[in-house]
């Protein structure tokens, strides 16, 4: 029997992309042939890890147009990132869903051609929307939920993107506002699905569950007690999906003592150089070493304090492993990596499921939630100091870490995929 070719199609974000790298590394070890379907802008990212890439056709826009669109995006949305989840529904979530629907429509023809060319035995979709070419490919597709668990609704789980507690009295108001905000994009998307022969989805939903397998990146330490438990076998919870990275050799800083704090707001969060600059001013007053991921904006910073190190890229798992505190935006991948290595999180969310993970970190005492706007320097400084020295937190995080490490998320994901595949093959 020839090795099964498994096509992984992560969305165009580093969290999903690198989560899939972790799964693909394990699939390869298990004898499968993982390949990546990716957006042209991710060229080389998967090849660097030794995987074959197949690219969707690049957009016709020139690099200058892309740069202009990007600048427009920044100037439009930067202020919105300081809003509450409810306010963001109209200002950020609604236009973002419109853009996601655009992406799915634009990708369809190219994706269909690629799938016909690759002829995969299964497709792994790590995204928030269904691409009809995948549903129509005639091979099993598997869904990876690498956003927060809130993406799969339940009465005991807070509404998706709300940052609420499950029993929040305003829950129904948020749910109604979410449906209202997404209605136009949803209607357009259902029309697109219909044109591609797919059944419509209920209001507010853009991606169905897979009838074969759904992998949820939701470690037990932060998992919700569902009113209607998800069917075992069809839904598999992972304890973390951490990829293998090169060892990060810590540079020696001019002031090189104290605990290690890592800050990364993800590729999008790095655009807020003003916020990161104000935080760096606070870091200069704390006896600790701070490693800060500033993405492509290194040139925006000058006079970096002697206990701070800026980088445009860090092999995140490797540095989180060595950290005493991880300050991040609540991206699910980042949150899970912090839990996996037993590192408390200080979550400063700016959008999407970052709000959900920030609330969950506070509720499960695996971290703290701090709003991006309106904090005073002493408040940020005190939160950092408290999280670093809290012994109770350290004991709890160590316990969570050893539990997660004992159940490799990538191994479980790969074996579930291959099991599903072999069951289908023998049927």
């Amino acid at each position: 029997m020839t090795a099964p070719v498994i096509a992984l199609f992560p969305e165009a974000s580093f969290g999903a992309a690198l989560n899939c790298v972790g799964i693909a590394q394990q699939l390869k070890r298990s004898g499968a042939v993982p390949v990546f379907l990716c957006h042209a802008g991710f060229t080389g990212v998967f090849a660097e890890y030794g995987f074959k890439e197949y690219h969707l056709p690049a957009s016709a826009q020139s690099s200058q147009q892309a740069e202009e669109n990007w600048q427009a995006f920044i100037s439009t949305h930067l202020d919105h990132f300081n809003q509450s989840p409810m306010a963001q529904l109209q200002s950020y979530v609604a236009p973002t869903w419109e853009a996601i629907v655009d992406t799915a429509i634009q990708a369809e023809a190219g994706l269909e051609k690629l799938i016909k060319r690759i002829k995969p035995d299964a497709i792994i979709l790590d995204n928030v929307i269904m691409f009809p070419a995948i549903a129509n490919a005639g091979v099993p597709w598997i869904r990876v939920v690498s956003c927060a668990e809130t993406e799969i609704p339940d009465a005991n789980v807070p509404p998706y993107l709300s940052g609420m507690r499950p029993d929040d009295p305003e829950r129904q108001i948020f749910e109604a506002a979410y449906l209202d905000a997404t209605a136009a994009a949803h209607k357009r998307y259902n029309r697109f699905r219909h044109s591609r022969g797919l059944a419509p989805l209920p209001d507010g939903q853009f991606l169905e569950v897979s009838k074969h397998l759904n992998l949820l990146l939701a470690p037990s330490a932060i998992r919700h007690e569902r009113r209607r438990p998800l069917p075992e076998g069809q839904f598999v919870f992972l304890e973390g999906c951490v990829r293998e990275e090169t060892r990060f050799e810590l540079p020696t800083l001019p002031v090189n003592d104290g605990p290690l704090v890592y800050l990364s707001f993800g590729s999008l969060g790095a655009i807020d150089t003003g916020l990161i600059g104000r935080m760096i001013d606070v870091f200069a007053t704390i006896r600790a070493r701070f490693f800060v991921n500033v993405g492509g904006f290194l040139e925006s910073y000058q006079n970096v304090p002697d206990n701070v190190y800026l980088g445009s890229w860090f092999p995140q798992p490797s540095i989180v492993k060595q950290a005493d505190l991880f300050i991040h935006h609540g991206g699910n991948n980042s949150f899970c990596e912090a839990l996996y290595y037993g590192v408390p999180s200080l979550i400063m969310p700016y959008c999407w499921d970052g709000h959900d993970n920030a609330s969950r970190a506070a509720a499960t005492k695996t971290g703290e939630h701090l709003g991006r706007a309106g904090w005073a320097p002493e408040q940020l400084g005190n939160k950092i100091r408290e999280l670093i020295i809290c012994e109770e937190m350290q004991i709890r995080m160590k316990r969570i870490s050893s539990q997660m490490m004992s159940q490799s998320g990538t191994a479980k994901a790969a074996s579930s995929i291959l099991r599903t595949f072999s069951m289908l093959d023998s049927a």
Partner: protein
């Protein structure tokens, strides 16, 4: 003359550090023998500078010399790294490194006065001036009219790395294909051995720092062989800048190995005198190193192919 002596001393100090790194990477401990020939192969230099470097390590109580037996580690290399190595550096060299590191980490501004540096480093004015002269010899700073010194572009940001790779893509294949290319086969042989040893290491055991050092040495060797003196000069100066200012980039293990294999393929072609093929392989190698990390991407936002790292 003073500058030459200072540069030679610096090279011996660098070599001494490389010997300790070699001992560390190869699991050597206190009392282990450091054969000159092996060190010479590992570091890609002749035995004469190795002896000078070992002498420095001996003066600093890191190795001991036994008559007719050679040099042996007096302390564990880890102890040397954590403590004794600091003594290796004389004030000017150490200060030059500190200034350069602080510049690369964006702690100090583009233009500096000597007085500001004297205040920051609490070192005498003469030491600061000597450190600036060391950096100036490598083209890292230039004295402006008056008392200020200006830093030249260094490889400290993704954009600078992108520019560096574009520059190299223009010149490195030309360095090979220009008439008169001649490679130092002895050095190439030693370097090939180091690459093969690196490739034989287990997964994730190749350090980015060690790779970068070998990578700079490989590309410098190619530059040295060029038959065109101006290409040779420009590339050697650029690789010197890379070796002093390019930060460890955290390249995944797969790509490190692929890049080493590409180096070996280029050596193979050069040894067979297939220069045009080697030049094409160099293009492939450098293009593969231009791994583009999307500058930004998120739900609904198409990734941009900016911010080259490679």
């Amino acid at each position: 003359m003073l500058k030459t002596r200072s540069n030679t001393r610096q090279n011996h100090l660098k070599l001494a550090r490389q010997i300790v790194d070699y001992a560390l990477e190869n699991g050597l401990g206190e009392g282990d023998h450091l054969p000159e020939m092996i060190l010479s192969n590992a570091c890609g230099v002749s035995r004469t500078p190795i002896r000078s470097a070992l002498k420095i390590l001996e003066i600093n109580n890191i190795v001991i010399r036994r008559e007719e037996e050679g040099y042996f580690l007096k302390i564990h290399p880890e102890v040397a790294v954590s403590g004794g190595m600091a003594q290796l550096e004389d004030v000017e060299d150490s200060l030059a490194n500190r200034i350069l590191k602080d510049r690369a980490e964006r702690r100090i501004a583009d233009v500096q006065s000597v007085s500001a540096l004297v205040r920051r480093y609490e070192e005498p004015r003469s030491s600061v001036l000597n450190a600036l002269k060391i950096l100036s010899a490598d083209g890292i700073v230039a004295q402006l009219p008056g008392r200020a010194w200006a830093f030249q572009p260094i490889l400290d940001t993704p954009n600078a790395l992108r520019d560096s790779l574009s520059f190299r893509l223009i010149l490195e294949p030309q360095a090979i294909s220009a008439p008169g290319f001649a490679m130092d086969s002895q050095k190439a042989g030693m370097m090939r051995q180091q690459m093969e040893e690196m490739l034989a290491r287990h997964e994730d055991e190749i350090s980015n720092t060690a790779f970068l050092r070998l990578d700079c040495a490989f590309h410098s060797l190619i530059a040295e062989g060029s038959g065109n003196r101006f290409i040779r000069g420009a590339l050697l100066a650029h690789h010197r800048l890379r070796s002093t200012t390019q930060e460890d980039q955290s390249i995944p293990d797969f790509r490190l190995r692929q890049a080493l294999e590409e180096h070996l393929d280029i050596f193979d072609s050069l040894e067979r005198s297939q220069h045009q093929l080697a030049a094409d392989q160099m293009v492939l190698h450098l293009r593969r190193s231009q791994i583009r990390r999307p500058q930004a991407a998120n739900r609904g936002i198409r990734p941009l192919s900016q911010g080259t790292i490679g």
